[in-house]
Amino acid sequence: MNTPAFGISLEPRSRVEQGLLGRALRFLHLDGWLLVGIGGVLLISLLALYSAEGQLLTELLDQVARMLVAFGALLFMAQISPSWLRRGSPLIYALGIVLLVMVMATGDIGKGAQRWLDLGIRFQPSEIMKLGLPMTLCWLLHDRPLPPSFGVLLVVVVILVVPVGLIAEQPDLGTAILIVLSGAVVIFLAGLSWKYIAAVGALTGAAMPALWLVMHDYQRKRVLTLLDPESDPLGAGYHIIQSKIAIGSGGIFGKGWLNGTQGQLEFLPERHTDFIFAVIGEEFGLLGALALLLLYLLIVGRGLYIAAGAPDTFSRLLAGSLSVTFFFYVFVNTAMVMGMIPVVGVPLPLVSAGGTSMVTLMAGFGILMSIQTHRKLVAR
């Protein structure tokens, strides 16, 4: 009973998959389309970072090293079959909670927030939750009838609230929001009744004033700044104004690689991390930005295709959740850089400098590839 998703037949395999390359990919449990998308984005990342980091080769090599580590994580996750992943999910979640509690107790403080944990290597435990939380929800839902019952939903809420509360307390609003979204995607894909969705939507709207009250001053400022960036051109509004100037002045074709004045002359803050999309927009123009978006859509589309073809509930939900969440990262960052939503510290996935989030993302792609490549072995 192989129901083709979207009318695309999964059989027979394409020629590539049957050739030498195809056999190598299959042996390594890798997915060609995803690799093409990821590789393209990483290439753009290296070009943009070289420009944004003052054309320092050493910084670039550091990033290449991080990419290799992240690829190692991808390769590793791709080898683990979905059934093993499913069984390991609650353990990963539990480990994540423990580490988050440790952060609260002992963690290092970076940029005014307590996010880092030093266990030989320095990392943010919240990153584990980006994968651990959706995996655990998928594990919870996989053998229960869907759409989930109210009782199950209550358990979902508890599983969600504990880590999100810990992360929001660090405070790391951006990550907390993204983890809530990843969980929301899981239960949405699991068929959460539209009634509940409407109710949650209404509740969220009603809770906004309360949220305003519990927000930190800098977070409120970001929201206010979004509404009127010119009100504080040298303070909080500066980031948005400068990044809009960078993108807007790039025009259709861009100022050319290494020629972006906003970036090269340091008008653009955080240009190698959260605001790297502005560097791309300035130097490569509309065409460059669209090319990057296209590569992202390729990755997300392939992820959703894998989800559609996944043989079991756990794999389906997880693949769908990982793909949609990845898209959220892209949207939140680009929308923030273009002044459509408040500044939340979310890097542009796979492009911004930094290792931790890339390792998580690549591990996620490893899971997607595992789901895709272990299908024959698991199914039926």
């Binding site: 759409p147 019952s149 699991a190 100037i245 807007g248 008008f267 859509l297 898209f327 273009m338």
Partner: protein
């Protein structure tokens, strides 16, 4: 019912999931669409707007200040020039600890402690990346002191800048004035674009009056700056045009001769070419050092100059007002001839004193035994007071006053530098206005009498006196005194001369009458009984002159009472006017020496020295 629902229906769940996946895809595409729309809006719709914003961010227009014009004397000697000097500059944003750095600068002797508050103010008012001048014109010792400590002072740098310097120092100080940092007051009158890069502006005298010619035209540079304002690249440079060189009418030989004569004295000397009003020498002593002032005086040093009892900042030639004493006599004599009160033949008996009819008050002659019977020639030659008491009384104050005014007394001469005083020619009407109490408003006949010998209320400036002397030399022809001979274009060397500016001449005067008083003045220096014949001896040219000695009534208001100095400061002022050569005068001089006692002995030799220095050169 809940039980039945617990059975998992895989086919239905997959259908449900596929539906949800489709919703997710629509969601993804929708949000992507929003991002694309926003990109197009920014990069296509508002591209022009953001391009301009981006250029405005990175391109800064920096002024290139022009080089100030030179000031030259009439023979091309350089009186003011621009010389490189070293100054210490600070970029506040590069200084890690401002308070500590300033403290250490003071401790190492580079920064005077007095300047600290002003410097702090300047630092606070500028942008962090703008350089601030910490100390100007560093001496070799200060340079060395900074050089060895350089590593301890990040953000500070030694820079060579063009500074104004005056090779003749004090000798031309009151003539040239000086330049100084642009003050808030200056900014009100200066063109903000032209002066955007200029640090110094002419503050007084020639440097101020000819500011527009000297300054030049500012250029500019379009530079690419980074977010900290640091220059990264020059895109375009429009050179500045140097200011014009200003050629003064001054003859430096005459100027130096006057300085030498006045050295150690409080006084002034002004020499004018009677043929065109050109000022040949313009000296006031004591003077300040314009090099020190242009370099920037410490507050303390400036106050010391201001409070000096000898008033070195006071331009006596332009603003000093003195009773003219007997130097007024040739003009009074001319007035007497003009109004028919005297003829060249009329004689007056002098027995050493004069009394008004019905009064016992005796107005003394300077020679107690009297001059005997004197005519106009004798009266001028020997400076007979009784003769002038007599004619003054017959002229009356108002006729005498209005005649003196036609020589330019009592009003500014209109010389090219500002701040000139008017002096005072008294009249009946003036006295009524000037005094408050009715008893004091009445003009007394005795006041007319002493006015005849230049005493009483009458006041002249050395410049006015020189101008009046030049007018006598030119027999009534008057020219506005000027320091401005012309300009020289620094780039092409083209010189443009300024035409003389004639003033209304002294009216209706017969040449014979001029000759009569000039003959008397000739006698002063070269006649057998002239008051200054010692000075006129052995001169290679013929000259005319008149000495004056003016009584000092009160100590000047601005001066402080100082017992030690009072005796000296109560002495009479010494004055002398002269012109030469007699036949075709080329120079007229007025010398005033405060408390100099004797016009003919103290002031006259200086006038002679100035004329010698000028006339030794032909033309």
């Amino acid at each position: 019912m809940a039980r039945t629902l617990r059975i998992k229906d895989h086919w239905r769940e997959q259908q449900l999931f596929t539906g949800r996946l489709l919703v997710a895809i629509l969601f993804v595409l929708g949000l992507t669409g929003l991002v694309v729309v926003r990109l197009v809006q920014l990069q296509v719709g508002k591209y022009e707007y953001y391009s301009v914003q981006s250029s405005g961010n990175r391109i800064r227009v920096e002024p290139v200040p022009p080089i100030r014009g030179l000031i030259l004397d009439r023979n091309g000697k350089v009186l003011a020039e621009n010389t490189p000097s070293y100054q210490l500059e600070m970029t506040p944003e590069q200084v890690p600890d401002m308070a500590d750095t300033l403290t250490r600068l003071v401790a190492s002797g580079i920064l005077p402690e007095d300047d600290l508050p002003e410097l702090k103010e300047t630092v606070a008012s500028r942008r962090a990346f703008d350089t601030v001048v910490v100390a100007e014109r560093l001496t070799d010792e200060e340079l060395a002191a900074f050089a060895v400590r350089r590593p301890q002072f990040p953000g500070l740098e030694i820079r060579a800048r063009l500074g104004r310097s005056y090779p003749y120092g004090t000798a031309a100080a009151h003539l040239l004035g000086y330049v100084g940092g642009i003050s808030a007051e200056d900014k009100k009158t200066l063109d903000p674009i032209e002066y955007a890069g200029t640090t110094h502006v002419g503050k007084i005298s020639v440097e101020r009056s000819f500011e527009a010619r000297l300054h030049g035209t500012s250029g500019h540079e379009d530079v690419v700056v980074n977010v900290h304002g640091r220059k990264m690249q020059v895109l375009n440079r429009i050179q500045s045009l140097p200011g014009q060189d200003v050629i003064l009418t001054i003859d430096m030989d005459a100027q130096l001769a006057a300085n030498q004569g006045l050295e150690g004295k409080r006084g002034a000397a002004v020499a004018i070419d009677p043929r065109n009003g050109e000022v040949l020498a313009f000296v006031s002593t004591p003077a300040y050092d314009p090099n020190a002032i242009s370099a920037g005086l410490s507050r303390r040093a400036y106050l010391a100059l201001q409070e000096d009892l000898d008033q070195p900042m006071f331009n006596r030639a332009l603003r000093g007002q003195y009773p003219p004493g007997s130097t007024i006599k040739p003009m009074v004599a001319l007035a007497a001839l003009h109004y028919g009160v005297a003829t060249s033949e009329r004689r007056v008996g002098c027995r050493g004193a004069f009394s008004l009819p019905g009064s016992s008050h005796r107005f003394r002659d300077w020679k107690p035994e009297g001059h005997g019977s004197v005519d106009l020639y004798n009266a001028i030659e020997q400076s007979c007071d009784v003769y002038f008491y007599t004619v003054a009384r017959e002229l009356g104050i108002d006729r005498m006053g209005s005649f003196l005014e036609s020589f330019g007394l009592g009003s500014v001469t209109g010389i090219d530098i500002g701040g000139e005083k008017t002096g005072l020619v008294p009249s009946v009407a003036w006295k009524k206005k000037a005094f408050r109490r009715p008893g004091e408003q009445v003009w007394f006949p005795g006041e007319t009498v002493i006015a005849g010998i230049g005493q009483g209320y009458m006041l002249v400036t050395p410049l006015q006196l020189a101008h009046a002397t030049a007018t006598i030399a030119a027999k009534g022809q008057r020219f506005q005194p000027t320091l401005f001979r012309g300009t020289r274009n620094a780039a092409t060397g083209t010189i443009e001369y300024e035409a003389p500016r004639p003033l209304p001449p002294v009216p209706d005067q017969e040449p014979a009458q001029w000759d009569a008083i000039i003959e008397g003045m000739h006698g002063v220096l070269q006649g057998p009984r002239g008051t200054a014949r010692a000075v006129g001896l052995n001169a290679p040219y013929q000259m005319a002159g008149k000495s004056g000695t003016a009584q000092v009534f009160t100590i000047g208001q601005k001066e402080k009472y100082n017992a030690k100095d009072v005796a000296e400061r109560r002495r009479d002022h010494a004055l002398f006017i002269a012109f030469a050569p007699l036949e075709a005068p080329r120079i007229a001089v007025a010398v005033v020496i405060e408390n100099g006692e004797s016009g003919s002995k103290v002031a006259a030799p200086i006038a002679r020295a100035v004329m010698d220095a000028y006339l030794k050169n032909p033309s």
